[in-house]
């Protein structure tokens, strides 16, 4: 450990840090709070540029972004635009997968008014609650987050007092006090599922961090701002019984040089109460993955 004030030397890493000492000495005038002030200024600046959840934009804006970039990416965006009409960006704050999932799911319910789906997911959410309790989580640590998610779920169904419009859903998704709590709800769900099936997930987790599922959940799932990997997506999809399609926009292409956009469907594995029929359901959540970031995609 060390605090990052400048030349910090710790016995174990003496040889390394003492080299840094001379280099960092000039930096000693920069105090942590100055650096942090600057950091939060940068964050605030970013926040203005991209809210937690952005507006729906035509896919053309994505093409414009790569206008002078990689020809492979330009070509892939062309292929993408044959099937997809729009993109909704999310802030790159490490919560983008969960935030994208949150908005895409609630928006789907708002637009489809699919009450059967709401009843179905509630059964799985209740199962997740039991899972967390059986894993030894104190109920008071997660109950507020569960209640808040269920409240949002009710509110996107029309015909009750708390019903909200699409515009209000966008507002709520941008309101930190609601948005972050729903993200945290998904983090609890993901962590519970990973631990419940830790034997299954252990090899995947070890490939990522060389630790146990327990350690992985503590360091990479439960803290806000920790980015999501395949493992998180699989676990969330399994736990809630919601299929998710991810399209990959990267520079890869096959040997023949032909361009196609790879996608992967995360199909909920059997095991949770309502997952058995999930194989038959076409994913209604589609996300675009660019290395390090997820946004929401809208099919034509």
């Amino acid at each position: 450990m060390q605090n990052h004030d400048g030349d910090v030397v710790e016995s174990k890493t003496e040889s390394i840090t003492s080299i840094q000492t001379s280099e960092i000495d000039d930096w000693a005038n920069f105090r942590d709070d100055d650096i942090m002030k600057q950091q939060s200024a940068i964050q605030a600046e970013e926040a203005v540029k991209i809210p937690f959840v952005g507006d729906k934009e035509p896919l053309l804006t994505l093409a414009a972004e790569y206008q002078s970039g990689s020809p492979i990416l330009q070509e892939k965006i062309k292929v993408l635009s044959e099937q997809y009409a729009a993109i909704r960006r999310t802030r790159g704050d490490g919560n983008c997968f969960f935030r994208s999932f949150m908005f895409a799911y609630l928006e789907h319910i708002l637009e489809s008014q699919d009450r059967a789906e709401v009843d179905r997911i509630k059964v799985n959410v209740e199962q997740c609650r039991k899972t967390l309790l059986s894993l030894g989580y104190a109920e008071f640590t997660f109950e507020d987050f569960f209640a808040l998610f269920l409240e949002q779920l009710e509110s996107v169904l029309s015909g009750n007092e708390a019903s909200i419009s699409h515009e209000e859903l966008v507002q709520r998704s941008r309101d930190q006090s609601i948005s972050d709590c729903v993200v945290m709800f998904f983090r609890f769900i993901t962590s519970g599922e990973l631990k419940k099936r830790s034997e299954f997930y252990e090899p995947f987790v070890q490939g990522l961090t060389n630790g146990t599922v327990e350690q992985f959940c503590k360091s990479s799932v439960e803290p806000m701002g920790e980015e999501s990997d395949h493992v998180h997506i699989t676990a969330l999809s399994d736990a809630l019984g919601v299929p998710i399609r991810i399209l990959y926009l990267d520079r890869s292409c096959d040997d023949k040089g032909s361009i196609s956009v790879n996608h992967h469907d995360f199909t909920p594995a059997p095991g949770n109460p309502t997952n058995d029929n999930a194989n038959a359901v076409k994913p209604f959540i589609t996300l675009l993955y660019r290395p390090g970031h997820y946004d929401i995609l809208y099919p034509k």
Binding site: M1, N3, D7, V9, D32, Y137, R187, K218, S219, E222
Partner: protein, 161 residues
Amino acid sequence: MTSPSASSRKALSKIACNRLQKELVEWQVNPPAGFKHKVTDNLQRWIIEVNGAPGTLYAGETYQLQVDFPEHYPMEAPQVIFVPPAPLHPHIYSNGHICLDILYDSWSPAMTVSSICISILSMLSSSTVKQRPADNDRYVKNCKNGRSPKETRWWFHDDKV
């Protein structure tokens, strides 16, 4: 030690208040072994007594932790420091600041005051040497303006101690 930032801190949100009341009840029913919380009517600051575990370097010693809760607890981490005199430990500064990842970047609302206490006791118990961090003087000097440890950019590269 009183941190000046505590007085200017915003009052607890409703969510934070509810959560802390539940934690308080849970603590009273099931306090972590080795800890005593002197209950006051100040929900936003807990003073907790820590007893060094038997068979460790800190056996028989007693210290005080000061836990201050931010407006948006538990989404934000509490500020946890030792009230000086702080235990001599390679990760604890003489001003009471503690270098422990879960208090900063690795904090999660899934954690509780109780789980923090257990982590701190475990950190004390696994220590093999009673000494201050190598950069203690510099760090403490830089904190003279009353800066909170949450405003420090911590580097954690040793979780063995």
